[in-house]
Amino acid sequence: MRTAGERPGAPGGSADPMVPRPFRVTRRRRETADTFTLDLVAEDGKPFAFAPGQFNMLYVHGVGEVPISISGDPADGTRLVHTIRAVGKVSAALCAMKRGDLVALRGPYGKPWPTVEAEGHDVVFIAGGVGLAPLRPAIVHAIANRHRFGKVIVLYGARSPADMLFAEEVQRWRGLFSMEVDATVDRAGPDWLGRVGVVTKLVERAEFDPAHTLAMICGPEVMMRFSVEMLTRRGVAEDRIYVSMERNMKCAVGFCGHCQWGSAFVCRDGPVFRHDRIAHLNAIREL
């Protein structure tokens, strides 16, 4: 597995980062009403290595190409997993794919989550909505390498109980004695026995040592902003808070400028950013 700072678009994926490889859908799972998980296997049989937090460009023939984070186990080099929410043309076409269909894929791209820097720290994962998908490989990695970290805490906020991703798996994580998992939804019916309220409330209550904590956050930008604020209020240093950003993309390799955000290219310098390095960009409203 690669660590933070290494070059994206490197050997584990396509030899030439611009050339897609065909992958076949081997399984399709419905996560929520509009979100599906696809398992993909390379037609050429070669393994696919990636680091948690990286993304691929997925091309549906005749429809278009979109960036999608990898949501699978980074230790599994044979099965590539993507979790996709149908919001428009290409994402809906991906969600409609069936077992046996082909998708052209290039990657992996982008800076990964700081799984190595996190070692020795309490690690707090904060996910909002489909933001749990890009965090999942890092969580799976933390579980598999549990002894390398202090506390492992997953805080997950979703719109409603029906909108929660990987519900069974989150439940399984909850059952592990080695980590703490707390979830909350924005609204629920009377039958829901979990928490209701915003995810920042979970951040406020979670038990970690702020001076020795590293946080990774993925979700809607407003949710990430308030989560960062709560973490810093609790004493977590901004250089130990990481967020994953989304901008529309075309090339994904730092050529076209499509994903430019201030002076950064999200595809090349992100999507995972250390918060102290981008805080000034968040302050500018029209970027």
């Binding site: 909002g128 719109r159 924005d186 629920a188 409330k201 308030f226 529309n248």
Partner: protein, 158 residues
């Protein structure tokens, strides 16, 4: 008969009263009673008179809003250490939602008339209580705003 001594011990254990001095705690304990509810019990219901405020020691409480023809909507759950409600401070002293126990709940109930009397008689206590309630209110307001924004609905990438 309320055992004021043991209630004041309970108050001292609660984060909510951490910054209060001994004398204030004793005074507030005089307005407090130990309460317990079974799952499904209502601590209070919408429209009822807000004659008390509560702090949860054990258990979970769901705050719900009812709309005709729909199942109740839970907009927030409260947990140990949380205070329920500030309508007792603000005229017309009426609850604007239901508070339903989802588990066995144990807590402290403070008589609102007694509290308001103490706040009126000693503005220092009034100020301290207001100071303690304001962050609770502002956090709830922020939470409500974020929920209203429906953040997790499809967010447009830029």
């Amino acid at each position: 008969m309320v055992d004021i001594h043991s209630v004041s011990e309970l108050l001292k254990d609660l984060e909510f009263f951490r910054e209060f001095g001994e004398a204030t705690i004793e005074l507030l304990a005089g307005c407090a009673t130990n309460v317990a509810y079974r799952p499904g019990d209502y601590v209070f219901r919408e429209g009822g008179s807000a004659d008390a405020f509560f702090i949860i020691r054990h258990g979970d409480v769901a705050l719900e809003i009812h709309a005709p023809g729909r199942e109740p909507l839970v907009f927030e759950t409260l947990h140990p250490g949380d205070a329920i409600g500030w309508s007792w401070m603000v005229p017309p002293f009426k609850w604007s939602y239901d508070a339903r126990c989802r588990t066995v709940v144990r807590g402290l109930s403070f008589d609102a008339t007694c509290l308001r009397g103490k706040m009126e008689a000693d503005h220092e206590i009034g100020y301290q209580l207001m100071r303690r309630f304001l962050p609770v209110m502002s956090r709830r307001l922020l939470g409500a705003r974020l929920q209203l924004l429906d953040l997790y609905a499809a967010e447009k990438a830029r």
